[in-house]
Symmetry: C2
C-alpha cells in the first residue's frame, strides 16, 4: 500500500505540541487559511496535486505525525493515517476523513472541515481514555471535487474500481495535461493507479463529516445533522459545433454561431429542470473556442450538472435536454454531441448505521443532500454514514461558505462520540 | 525613436541570401508556418509579446537585415524598417506593413501576409530599379487583434494618442498581468509608452495589405481589391452578477444564476442586431466565474463586438442591448454592468489616394470591410489606403483562412506597383 510519503512541510506553522492547549477545529483551519487563496474569484482554489493541495497534505501529515499516527499515501494518492489498536489487530477499521481539494472560488470548509474534525476527534478520544478495539484511520481523498480532471470523487472511484483506470489516466486538466502525467509529476506511478481491494477490505465503517451545503440545519436550529442519502447526479459535456468566422465581416444571416445555440441550450436546461419537480440542472462552466472577442466561435463546450433523487428522472432530464439541444443546434446550422463525464446513482446510506448515529446524537436531524461525496462512492462497498455541520449562509462552493467556531467544535464532538461507539462496541 | 532592438533569431531558417532565387510571399510565410501553432484550437495563436510573436519579430528583423533596411523598434513596440532615399531625405515617408499577432485559433495570413508582401514588394521595386524619392518604411504594429489586452490596434492607438496611455498601461491579459508589466518584461519602458508625434509626422502615406475577411473578391473573381472604408465597431464587456452557490443543493427556485441571464443576453444580442439592418453583433468570448461544473456561477462576463456602417446605429444597438440586458438580468435577480473596452468610428479612407490606386489597379474592385485594422487608426492622421487579397474560403479568424500562392504574389505585385507610384511621383 505504501508507495511514497509526501514530506513537504513548508508554509505550515503548527501549534505547539502536547504542552500547549488542545487543537480546536477552528485553530487547525486557521493554520491553512492562507494556503491556496483564489485571487481571481475570492475564497480558495486548491486543485488536486497543485502546490496548494500539497501544502495542505503536508499540514495534515505534520498533524498526523504529531499524534503518532502511522501514515501512508497509497498508489492512488489517498493518504491513510492509522491509529492502530493496542494489540495490533487489523481489518474492520473505522475510517473517517474527507478531502483537501476545492473548487475554484471555493470556501474554507468544504473538505478541510472533515479532515480537521477527524484530527480533533482523535484528541478527544484520547483525552477520554478510549482504547480502540478496532483501528481508526483518517483518510484524505484526492480530487473529490473533480474540479481539475472533471470526474468527482476520483480518489475513491480509483480505490473501489468505480472508474476504468485507463479512462482515469487520460483525463485532462485545463492545461491539457493528463491525470497520468500530473500524477507522475506528483510522485505517483501512473501504471499502478487503480482498484485496491486489499485496502478496501480493511475498511469496516466509513464516517465523513462535511459542512452542510444547504439551509436545512439553519431552519432546524441544529449545529449537526446525520446524512441519509445523496441525490443521484452526473456531469455531461455538450459540445456545440458551428462555423468559426470573423465577427465584423460575417453577416448575421451567414452565421452558424454555436454561441447562439449554446445560449438556447442553457435556457432550455433550466426550463427542463423546472419541468421535473425536485430536479436540479446547472451550467456553471461554458467555454467558447477559440474564445476571441472579435471571433465567431467555431465550437462551444458547456457542462451540465444534473441531479434528482430518482435516477430515472435524472436520466429522463438528460435525455430531454439532449433532444432539445439537437433541435436548438440544428436551427442554428450547428451540431451537438453529448459526452457523459461522470454519473453517480442516488445513494442511500446504511440504515442500521444511520439509526445507530441517531441514538448517539438524538438532537441531530436526518437529512439527505444534493451534493456528491466520497462517502457516496464508498457506501456501495462498506457501511457508511455522514455528519453535516451547519453553514449559516447556506451558500456553498463559494467564498461565502461558513461554519461558526462553536458549531465546528460541536461537529468534532459529535464525530468523536460516533467514533468512540464504533471503536469500542462490536462493529 | 530607437529604444531597443529585439535580436532573438531562434527557430528561424532563412532562405539563402542574394545568390538564391527571389523570396516569394508563400516562401516567406512557409518559414514561419511552425511558429505559434495553436494546439488547442487549430491554426495559430500568436499573442503580442509572446514567444511566438517574438519569434515572428526575429524572422522579420532577419529579413529586414538581409535587405539592408535600417530597423528600429520604438518605445511602443512598433518595428520600423527604413529604406532611405539615395540622398537621405526624411519625412513624407511611404509606410506599408501590418501586424504579426493573431487571435487564438487564427489563420496564417491575417497580419503576416501584409508584412511578407511588403518585403517582397521591396525586392520587386529594387529588381525594377526604382530609386525612391521618398523613404519607404515597413511597419510591424503590436496587438492589432487586441486578443491579449482587449483593445484592438493598441500599437497605432498608442502611437497616435488614440488611447489614454494610463489606461493602456493597466490593461490586463488573461493571466492578470498588465500591459505595463508585460511590456517591461519585453524590453519596453512602460513609462515611455504613448504618443509619438515625431514618428507620426514622418509618415506621408500608409498602405496596408491584408487578407480579405469576406467573400467579395470570390464573387468578383478578382485576386486583389482596394479598401474604401472600415465599419465602425467596438467592444463592450457585460458583467452579469448573481449568487454563486452549489449546483446540487440549491433548488431551482432559490437561484440567482447569472448564466441564465447571460444566455438570455446572448440571444437578445443576436435579435437586436438582426433588427438593425447592416449591423453585426457577436459574443465570441464568455467567461463564467468561478467556472466550476458543480458551481452556480457568481458572475458571468461576456464580450460584445458590435459594428455598423453608421456609428449612430452602432451606438443605438449597444444602448438597446444594455436596456434589454438590464431587464433580462433583473428578471433573474441579477445585475449587469457594461464597460466600453474600445470603440472605433467608421473610417472612410482618403478619396484621392483610393482613386489613384484604382487608376493603377484598374481590375481591383473598391470594397469596404467590417474588420478593424491599424489602417483605420492611422487614416485619421495620414492619407491611408488598403489592399485586400482574395481568401478562397471567405472564412477569417479561423484556421480555415487561406490565400492561394498565386493570389499572394498578385497582391505583392499590386502593392509594389502602388508603392513605386508613390515613391517616385509627388506624394
Amino acid at each position: 500500500m505504501e508507495d511514497f510519503i509526501i514530506d513537504r512541510v513548508d508554509n505550515i506553522t503548527l501549534l505547539p505540541p502536547r504542552s500547549g492547549p488542545a487543537d480546536t477545529v477552528a485553530g487547525l483551519l486557521s493554520e491553512i487559511s492562507r494556503i491556496g487563496t483564489d485571487q481571481q474569484h475570492g475564497g480558495y482554489w486548491r486543485p488536486v496535486f497543485s502546490t496548494a493541495e500539497f501544502d495542505l497534505r503536508a499540514w495534515f501529515l505534520a498533524h498526523a505525525a504529531k499524534r503518532g499516527l502511522d501514515v501512508t499515501t497509497d498508489r492512488n494518492g489517498v493518504i491513510w493515517a492509522w491509529w492502530h489498536t493496542p494489540d495490533g489487530r487489523t481489518g474492520n477499521a473505522v475510517v473517517t476523513g474527507s478531502h483537501l481539494d476545492s473548487v475554484p472560488g471555493g470556501g474554507a470548509f468544504d473538505g478541510p472541515l472533515g479532515v480537521a474534525s477527524a484530527l480533533v476527534a482523535v484528541d478527544i478520544l484520547r483525552a477520554d481514555g478510549v482504547r480502540p478495539e478496532r483501528p481508526l484511520v483518517i483518510a484524505v481523498f484526492p480530487e473529490e471535487e473533480g474540479s481539475r480532471f472533471g470526474v468527482a470523487c476520483l480518489g475513491t472511484r480509483l480505490l473501489t474500481g468505480a472508474i476504468d483506470v485507463d479512462r482515469a489516466r487520460t483525463l485532462r486538466d485545463r492545461n491539457g495535461d493528463t491525470f497520468a502525467e500530473v500524477a507522475a509529476r506528483s510522485g505517483i506511478d501512473p501504471s499502478r493507479l487503480g482498484p485496491d481491494p486489499q485496502m478496501l477490505a480493511q475498511i469496516g465503517t466509513f464516517i465523513e463529516l462535511h459542512v452542510e451545503q444547504g439551509r436545512d440545519l439553519i431552519d432546524r436550529k441544529q449545529p449537526v445533522g446525520i446524512g441519509s442519502s445523496i441525490l443521484g447526479h452526473g456531469r455531461w459535456r455538450l459540445s456545440v459545433t458551428g462555423q468559426g468566422n470573423h465577427a465584423g465581416t460575417t453577416l448575421m444571416t451567414d452565421r452558424r454561431d454555436p454561441m447562439i445555440a449554446a445560449a438556447g441550450i442553457v435556457m432550455d436546461i433550466r426550463d427542463t429542470a423546472r419541468a421535473h419537480p425536485g430536479a436540479r440542472a446547472t451550467v456553471g462552466r461554458l467555454e467558447p473556442v477559440p474564445g476571441g472577442t472579435n471571433v465567431i466561435a467555431s465550437r462551444v463546450d458547456l457542462w451540465l450538472d444534473a441531479r434528482h433523487p430518482d435516477d430515472e428522472v435524472t436520466a429522463s432530464v438528460v435525455t430531454t435536454i439532449l433532444a432539445h439541444a439537437r433541435r436548438i443546434s440544428a436551427a442554428e446550422g450547428c451540431t451537438v454531441e453529448l459526452t457523459e463525464e461522470s454519473v453517480s446513482r442516488t445513494v442511500d446510506f446504511d440504515g442500521a448505521l444511520r439509526d445507530r448515529l441517531s441514538l448517539l446524537l438524538p438532537d441531530a436531524p436526518v437529512q439527505h443532500t444534493g451534493a456528491g461525496h466520497d462517502a457516496g462512492i464508498l457506501a456501495r462497498f462498506v457501511p457508511t454514514a455522514m455528519l453535516f455541520v451547519r453553514n449559516p449562509t447556506g451558500v456553498s462552493h463559494s467564498p461565502e461558505e461558513y461554519v461558526d467556531d462553536n458549531d465546528a467544535e460541536a461537529g468534532a464532538r459529535a464525530l468523536a462520540r460516533v467514533l468512540a461507539d464504533l471503536l469500542v462496541r462490536a462493529g
